[in-house]
């Protein structure tokens, strides 16, 4: 019957999605709140030297097997005014 009305997404996929997030933070010992603080502090330090597009700054933990890397993508202002 479920198929007639469009199959409900199984709970396994939410288990997997949730575990992916939980394991990233468990392994790095970086809770989501600390990531936010890290992002703000990074923006502050870098902004002392160069203008950054604050709202587009992305900081995430990338996974390579069981190894992790902190990846920061910090776009700069390119309006030609910052020199």
């Amino acid at each position: 019957m479920q198929n007639l009305f469009g199959r409900k997404r199984g709970s396994a996929s939410s288990a997997k999605d949730r575990l992916q997030m939980v394991l990233i933070h468990d392994r790095s010992n970086l809770p989501p709140g600390v990531m936010d603080a890290l992002r703000d502090e990074l923006i502050e330090v870098i902004s002392r030297h160069v203008k950054v597009r604050k709202s587009d700054v992305q900081i995430e933990i990338a996974q390579d097997g069981r190894k992790q890397r902190l990846v920061a993508d910090i776009p700069l202002e390119t309006d030609g005014q910052n020199r």
């Binding site: 394991l23 468990d26 097997g65 069981r66």
Partner: protein, 266 residues
């Protein structure tokens, strides 16, 4: 003889460490290997009842460590498999009665006369866990395809690596193929992708495991049990053989297949 020490651990309780230890030991012993299993869960002894050897205990692990008996006297020989022995945990002491170096010394003595020494670790990440992994040549992590068990397994994998006892290998226990097919249970591939370690076995959920525990007979000795087959396969992989993983989806029983045909849209 230089035996190999294998520790079975999980972090979370109730995922099947003791059942797996008993069954892997039985599987190894049934192929003629000399296997001894040690119950390292001091204060919460259970490997004895799973193996059906509870009535034969005289001395235990703590008696050996504290010198009240010789090692040989604390080793209980299995009633079915002459190559299988159990060293039971003490029931009235706590984990501080044994240290990691006691376990290393004990394991080294056992290595001389046995092919495999299997250590059933207690749940948790404290003393009992440290005792259990101290002498390990190989660590097997057991988990269920379930959020909290996988999370704890990941934590244990990290601790085993930090103790330089890795890379650990994984057993996924109590997989329900029907639930995986419906999308309501993590598939073995999902768990592997999340934990990123080597798989050594997938054990299907099987009522025979409880029946076997009720009787004190490991399912690995039951040629008809699917879980028993999975444990025998793990035993062979431990011995270095390449055994294909069971296709649990296709092994669902006759009634499952019939009911699938009759289910609308299934």
């Amino acid at each position: 003889m230089v035996g190999s020490v294998i520790t079975i651990t999980s972090g979370k309780g109730g995922v099947g460490k003791t059942t797996a230890t008993a069954n892997i030991a039985a599987a190894l012993a049934s192929t003629g290997k000399k296997a001894v299993c040690i119950d390292a869960d001091i204060g919460l002894r259970n490997l004895d009842v799973v193996l059906g050897l509870e009535n034969r205990i005289v001395y235990d692990l703590v008696d050996v460590v504290e010198g009240r008996c010789r090692l040989r006297q604390a080793m209980i020989r299995d009633k079915r498999l002459p190559e299988l022995y159990l060293i039971p945990a003490a029931q009235t002491r706590d984990k501080s009665a044994v240290s990691p170096s006691d376990m290393v010394k004990l394991a080294n003595e056992l290595r001389e006369e046995h092919d495999y020494i299997l250590i059933d670790s207690p749940a948790g990440i404290e003393r009992g866990f440290r005792n259990s992994i101290a002498p390990a040549d190989r660590v097997i992590i057991i988990t269920n395809p379930e959020v909290s068990a996988v999370r704890d397994a990941d934590r244990i994998i990290g601790l085993v690596e930090a103790e330089e006892k890795g890379p650990a290998q994984l057993i996924i226990n109590r997989l329900n193929a029907g639930m995986v097919e419906r999308g309501d249970m993590l598939a073995a591939e999902d768990v592997l992708e999340l934990l990123a370690i080597e798989l050594i076995g997938v054990v299907p959920e099987d009522e025979e495991v409880i029946v076997g525990t009720n009787r004190g007979t490991p399912v690995a000795l039951d040629s008809k049990s699917k879980a028993g087959q999975a444990f025998r396969n793990i035993g062979q992989r431990i011995q270095g053989e390449t055994v294909p993983f069971m296709d649990l989806g296709q092994e669902s029983g006759f009634f499952d297949r019939i009911s699938k045909l009759m289910r609308p849209g299934g």
